[in-house]
Amino acid sequence: MRLIQPLFFLTILLVACSGGSDTEETRSPQDRARDLIIEAQEVATTGNTPKAAELLARSLALDPDHVGAWHSLGEMRLLSGLDGVFEALDRAEAMGLDSARFHQTRGEAYEAEEQDSQAKLEFAMALEREPFRKEAWFRLAQVERRLGNEFAAAESLAEFARIDQAERSLMTSLQAAEAQPEDAMLAAATASAHLEMGYVEEAQEWVDRAFAMRNNIPEAHMVAGRIARLQGDPDTALVHFELVTSLSQYDPRPWIERSEMALSAGDHQAARNYAHQATDVAGADPRVFLAQARILIALDALDDALASCEAALMRDPKREETLQLHAHIWDLMVKANEPAGKDD
């Protein structure tokens, strides 16, 4: 829920500046400001955001250098429908605040003012700083749709759904793995769930646990390969992906990974071949054709991409992501066939 987190980072800031209790007369303005922030935090969790905003404003009158309090004031005003949101956020920005959460808040403030283009920029900045911030993906999707960018909206929404699902998977797998710490498969699944959420270090820890118990689990090698890719070590990644294929020959994912690696390396023919290999081993899965289509778009093979997309649609005709990609490819094809523009 929205109000669980608003003052979360304030708590962190407060820990650093918490001091002992003194009489009201002897306590510094900063201490009294801190107390007001704590009170605002408590009030905010009950939903009384106007009161929280009031307390934060009082706190800032005592200690105007508290960057987090300025952001929270903007956030509480936004939630309360009060004026002065941008004023508070601008103060926070002027003091150097540039976090994902800050940009998310400002994006929502622009949305409330129906300034979708500005909101889009803010959500994009939030995601640059925190790519797994699912709320930003959701809001970005809404904004993109209103701006008429159906494909971008679908892509954002798919990312939101993926992270949302990954969050649930992570919780489930963590519970299961902690209940059965000797189960290597569960450890590998937990590693995968962490990686899906972008928690690379934790994923590495869990994959190490899995390997310590068993070294022939395809999922563990899949995770290890993806981590190696993220860390810029394609040779190690390739070793793991090949092991996945040898252990689980119908798993398309290593082929997609290898295709993407080849694409990055500029080996277009290999990229194409590996993408086809993925559909060869998992021809019933529309998601594989979808992934193949994306690679073919990157290769500028639009006719083939369209065919892959249609293959995905045959297997799942209602998948919004695929429908939008299909429309997007058509758009690209139309643009590619347009005559070059005239100079005015």
């Binding site: 929205r2 009384n48 106007p50 939630l79 429908g81 809404q142 749709r145 209103r146």
Partner: protein, 558 residues
């Protein structure tokens, strides 16, 4: 036989500190419990062992016996095993007094399921108000015989939907001039299976299991055949393919293409906006258009839903009540066709965060020319009272005063003592019970008697408009009306059911403030024809007939 009921004023209300005479508030409600000593809603066990015990208590506010005064129909409840209590009809005398209908006119419980909601509309087009009662078990269509007695049409009409139904809305879906019925369904409830699941844990308390984890049931559309019978419509695969835990439903022409669309509030699952494809089919556009989920992308616990123009821009807003520790959502439809979550901007986020809401509605409660909001609340888990600093089981009702721009606040003293008493509010309906020109309310209370909330605030002038449609759609469901005073225009949508499992008086109330008349009233009838009438004087009920274009005006206390 008839036992005259005196109002039972709730004692010990804190009137002294906030006497309406001294404060002269514009929004002030006083509560009276409607009881004959026999009827009360009883819903399962006090501990609410099953999800089926946790809601119900729909109410209808209509003139059932044709005497010109609003009457109250209240759902009696039942238990998880399927025992049904009888429902009750109270005849109003037009001054705010009510008496229980004679026993021989009462609706006795019938086997087959307990009742939850009621839709009171003239669905057979004969000029009196009929009932459609939704139940866990076959629903009951009941045709009024003209005097407040009803004939059960379950066997012959084809409307006895066997699912666990909650909301229901009449509309002419396919534009053939005959009313059709959309039935909202909830959970596939198997008591043995639920028993096997045991309890859920919420805030450290053992509470009933569900709805999450239980299979949902698909909503149904029934098409009227013109002879009093109805057939299940085939409107494409989407309606049945992804069922949700449905509750409230409203009808309106969302995309302004001449046919009626539906919006359904669903519990713990995304809300749905069923766009009507000219009567040929329907598709859910809520996610695409931005009115399915919360501002963070999660499903909310949609209970009741209401439609109105909050900010006076003639575009519709949707107001949806949800669970506690969440906000009641206000979506605004933009001219680009997308819906935006306007809850924070409307200031409703903070005002509704702690409430668990059910019935709700727009209404110009202080007759000042803008649409206020109201919501009846109450938690689903009695166990919440044991949670330190947790939400309370019984909760206060809420009224939100509009400042005219679509920003809301809680009025002074919370809207009076009637709103401030914690109850298990569920159903709710609105109408002018005492012909004094303002909107009163009736609350259906879970495990209690209905409560009348009499509006005694200092309101402005007002008038009522009653539309008489053509053919089978006699109540002009789907019409839109714009009333103009000077340069200001107020818009109303004639719906079928709003709020939560309940039916309000469909006559349209226009607050005029200090004004003495509506300069002009522009009606867009359900068949697309238009009629402009006016001026219409304050203090009157204006009955407008689509067929003749005639306006019949009479004093409201006639």
């Amino acid at each position: 036989m008839n036992k005259r009921l005196g109002w039972i004023l709730l004692a010990s209300l804190p009137l002294g500190a906030c006497d309406p005479g001294a404060q002269d508030p514009s929004l002030w409600f006083e509560a009276r419990t409607l009881s004959d000593g026999e009827f009360a809603n009883v819903s399962g066990t006090a501990e609410k062992d099953f999800v089926s015990d946790s809601f119900g208590a729909g109410v209808a506010l209509r003139d059932f016996n044709g005497d010109g005064h609003l009457d109250i129909f209240a759902i009696g409840g039942g238990d998880a095993q399927g025992k049904a209590n009888g429902d009750a009809l109270f005849f109003g005398d037009g001054t705010g007094g009510f008496e229980r209908a004679p026993r021989e006119l009462s609706l006795e419980a019938t086997p087959g399921g307990r009742a939850y909601g009621v839709n009171a509309r003239d669905f057979d087009g004969d000029g009196d108000v009929d009932l459609y009662i939704t139940r866990r078990g076959p629903n009951r269509p009941l045709c009024n015989q003209g005097d407040g007695t009803f004939e059960d049409q379950s066997e012959v009409s084809g409307l006895g939907d066997p699912a666990w139904s909650t909301g229901a809305a009449w509309l002419d879906f396919n534009g053939d001039g005959i009313l059709d019925l959309f039935v909202v369904n909830h959970i596939e409830f198997d008591l043995d299976a639920v028993n096997e699941r045991g309890k859920s844990l919420y805030l450290g308390q053992n509470v009933y299991y569900g709805p999450t984890g239980l299979p949902a049931q698909a909503d149904h559309l029934y098409l009227g055949q013109g002879d009093g019978t109805f057939e299940l419509a085939d409107v494409g695969p989407e309606l049945g393919s992804n069922p949700h835990y449905g509750f409230g439903v409203i009808v309106f022409d969302e995309d302004q293409d001449g046919d009626l669309d539906l919006y359904v509030a669903n519990d713990t699952t995304p809300n749905q906006l069923w766009r009507n494809d000219g009567g040929a089919g329907m598709s859910d556009q809520a996610a695409r258009l931005g009115c399915a989920l919360s501002m963070e992308g999660g499903p909310q616990a949609g209970m009741g839903v209401a439609l109105g123009d909050a900010d006076g821009d003639l575009q519709p807003e949707l107001f949806i009540t949800n669970f506690s520790n969440d906000y009641f959502t206000l979506y605004r439809r933009g001219e680009d066709g997308f819906w935006r979550d306007r809850t924070t901007r409307s200031r409703l986020h903070a005002l509704t965060w702690k409430s668990l809401g059910w019935a709700c509605g727009f209404g110009d409660l202080d007759s000042d020319g803008d649409q206020d909001l109201w919501a009846f609340n109450g938690h689903v888990y009695p166990q919440m009272d044991a949670v330190p600093n947790g939400p309370s089981y019984a909760q206060v009702a809420q009224v939100f005063e509009n400042d005219g721009s679509g920003r809301f606040s809680v009025p002074e003293h919370g809207g009076g003592p009637g709103m401030g008493t914690p109850r298990s509010g569920r159903g709710g309906a609105v109408g002018d019970l005492d012909h004094d020109g303002d909107l009163d309310m009736v609350m259906g209370v879970l495990d209690g008697s209905p409560v009348v909330l009499e509006n005694s605030g200092r309101g402005g002038n007002s008038l009522m408009v009653e539309l008489v449609g053509e053919g089978g759609n006699r109540e002009a469901i789907g019409a839109t009306v714009e009333g103009q005073v000077g340069s200001k225009i107020q818009k109303r949508w004639v719906g079928s059911q709003a709020g939560f499992l309940s039916s309000s008086d469909p006559r349209l109330h226009f607050g005029l403030g200090e004004g003495q008349q509506l300069d002009q009233l522009r009606i867009l009838w359900p068949n697309g024809s238009r009629l402009d009438v006016g001026p219409l004087q304050a203090g009157q009920i204006h009955r407008i007939d689509q067929a003749t274009g005639q306006v019949q005006s009479e004093p409201r206390d006639h």
